[in-house]
């Protein structure tokens, strides 16, 4: 199971007197049916730390849920009997839609296991779909809220080339030196291209991301793209940017979502810093584990703040400046990619966010570029 908790190390947490109640035993779940319903259930349940998915089964060996199960290391069963005999099973979820399946399961189930099937399973599936629509909606809402803060940067970057274009064109109305006319016409063309690039960057960033459109993403390229976008939201020109990229680092995921994650992490980092601080972007792929680190030398966070940063609507920014959705969405995106996110932070010294993807999850062995 992927660790998605905001990782304060144990020694830190104990030092701060944070209580650790004994964790209740996980609920052990079996999923019957690996069609759309089973796949959606897998996606939601595997994000929940208190649920352990014992396995999934379907009579169709090419059911889409099987591939998803393998991606997230859930055992795939050919036969229902084998799965429901697993010791410690607490709950069986029948999402086959087959009216005969419920009664058949009821007869075979061990005495202490519960069954969800029929209309109850349909309701569950509806709720799961609703949850996933909400998550996508929140991601988009937060992205649009963020784009509001780009206004100053966009205006700056649009109006400067426009001033150049206007100034040169005015000059051309009475310029007699033909060499100057040619040179200035070329300057105008370049300025128009720069302006167009701004619109292109932002329109591609603001479009709604498709929910599942995974491919191999070139991480270093995405980080560079994110720097270009983040520039509109925060004053990157005042800080030093260090890139420690290992060549050809790739992960499996949705490129738009990953871009959004990087823009968010970079924006947060820059907002935590003063002039002449350092932003470090680091990528590495060693022995089947890929890591992306975004570090700043800014104000850092207290352990109390660290323990809450991934909560929905939690923000330390002033009203109107932060939605409290940024890190919550990042955690969801990374979890969907079967990766994990951790933070290390010290007040006055800065913060480091680390994204980790293990082989077989978001990591791809092949070398490619998106």
């Amino acid at each position: 199971m992927t660790n998605i908790s905001p990782t304060i190390s144990h020694s830190q947490a104990e030092g701060q007197g944070i209580e650790h109640a004994p964790a209740p035993p996980p609920m052990r779940v079996a999923i019957i049916g690996a069609g759309r319903g089973g796949t959606a259930l897998l996606d939601v349940l595997h994000q929940i730390g208190t649920i352990e998915i014992l396995g999934i089964t379907d009579k169709d060996p090419s059911a889409p849920g099987f591939q998803r199960a393998r991606e997230i290391n859930v055992t795939v069963y050919d036969r229902v009997d084998d799965l429901i005999k697993r010791p410690g099973l607490n709950l069986v979820m029948d999402v086959t839609g087959d009216p005969a399946m419920g009664p058949a399961l009821k007869e075979q189930l061990p005495g202490d296991a519960d069954l969800v099937s029929g209309q109850a399973a349909r309701l569950l599936w509806t709720l799961v779909q609703h949850e996933s629509t909400l998550q996508t909606g929140l991601l988009h809402a937060e992205k649009l809220a963020g784009i509001g803060s780009f206004a100053a940067g966009i205006a700056h970057d649009m109006n400067n080339p426009l001033q150049l274009i206007l100034g040169l064109a005015e000059n051309l109305t009475d310029e007699v030196d033909l060499d100057v006319v040619h040179a200035q016409a070329r300057d105008i063309i370049d300025a128009v291209k720069r302006t167009t690039a701004i619109c292109r960057d932002l329109t591609s960033y603001s479009r709604r991301t498709s929910f599942r459109q995974d491919c191999l993403v070139n991480v270093n390229g995405k980080l560079d793209e994110a720097l270009k976008i983040a520039r509109y939201a925060v004053a990157l020109q005042y800080i030093d940017v260090r890139k420690l990229y290992q060549p050809d680092v790739v992960v499996q995921g949705n490129p738009d979502e990953l871009l959004h994650v990087f823009v968010n992490l970079i924006t947060n980092a820059v907002q935590a810093m003063e002039h002449h601080d350092t932003l470090t972007l680091e990528t590495s792929a060693v022995a089947g584990t890929t890591q992306v680190r975004v570090s700043d030398t800014g104000c850092g966070m207290t352990p109390e703040v660290q323990s809450r940063i991934f909560e929905v609507f939690f923000t330390t920014k002033p009203p109107g400046k932060g939605t409290g959705l940024g890190l919550y969405n990042i955690k969801n995106v990374i979890t969907r990619m079967n990766g994990s996110i951790g933070v290390e932070s010290h007040v006055g010294r800065g913060s480091t966010f680390t994204l980790t993807f293990h082989e077989g999850s978001g990591v791809a062995e092949r070398r490619t570029a998106s």
């Binding site: 205006a155 109006n159 001033q163 150049l164 206007l166 100034g167 005015e170 000059n171 004053a235 020109q237």
Partner: protein, 144 residues
Amino acid sequence: MSEFKSGFFVGGESCNGRVLVVDDEPDIRKVVRMALQKAGYDVLEAENGEKAIETINTGENRLLLDVMICDIRMPKVNGIEAIAYFRQNYPRVPLIVLTGFPDTEMATSLLRQGVVDYLVKPVEREKLEASVARAMEQRELAHL
């Protein structure tokens, strides 16, 4: 009315006055210079507030600088900080703001601080010249 013309003789040639353009974009400094030189002004450039302060404190600029045109969003010392410095140390040098990001609140606050004009990019040559001419009048009045 006084006959005084500040910066009237610069580099041995007659000119309408000396203007310092502060903007981090070389392209902007270039087009503003082009426009103002055509209108007969001597133009100095600085890429940020820090350089602008250095420039005004250098040699004859302390006395001969007539008008400053200043961007707001710049690295190092930004426009707001530079304008505060200039208003305090060189209150007789009229200031024009030329910004890419119109902000009503900021405009009001700057105009209250005595900024002559708040221009939003892209600004036409005619408007820029008129604004500088108006600022130049203020500069001359300050010498009366």
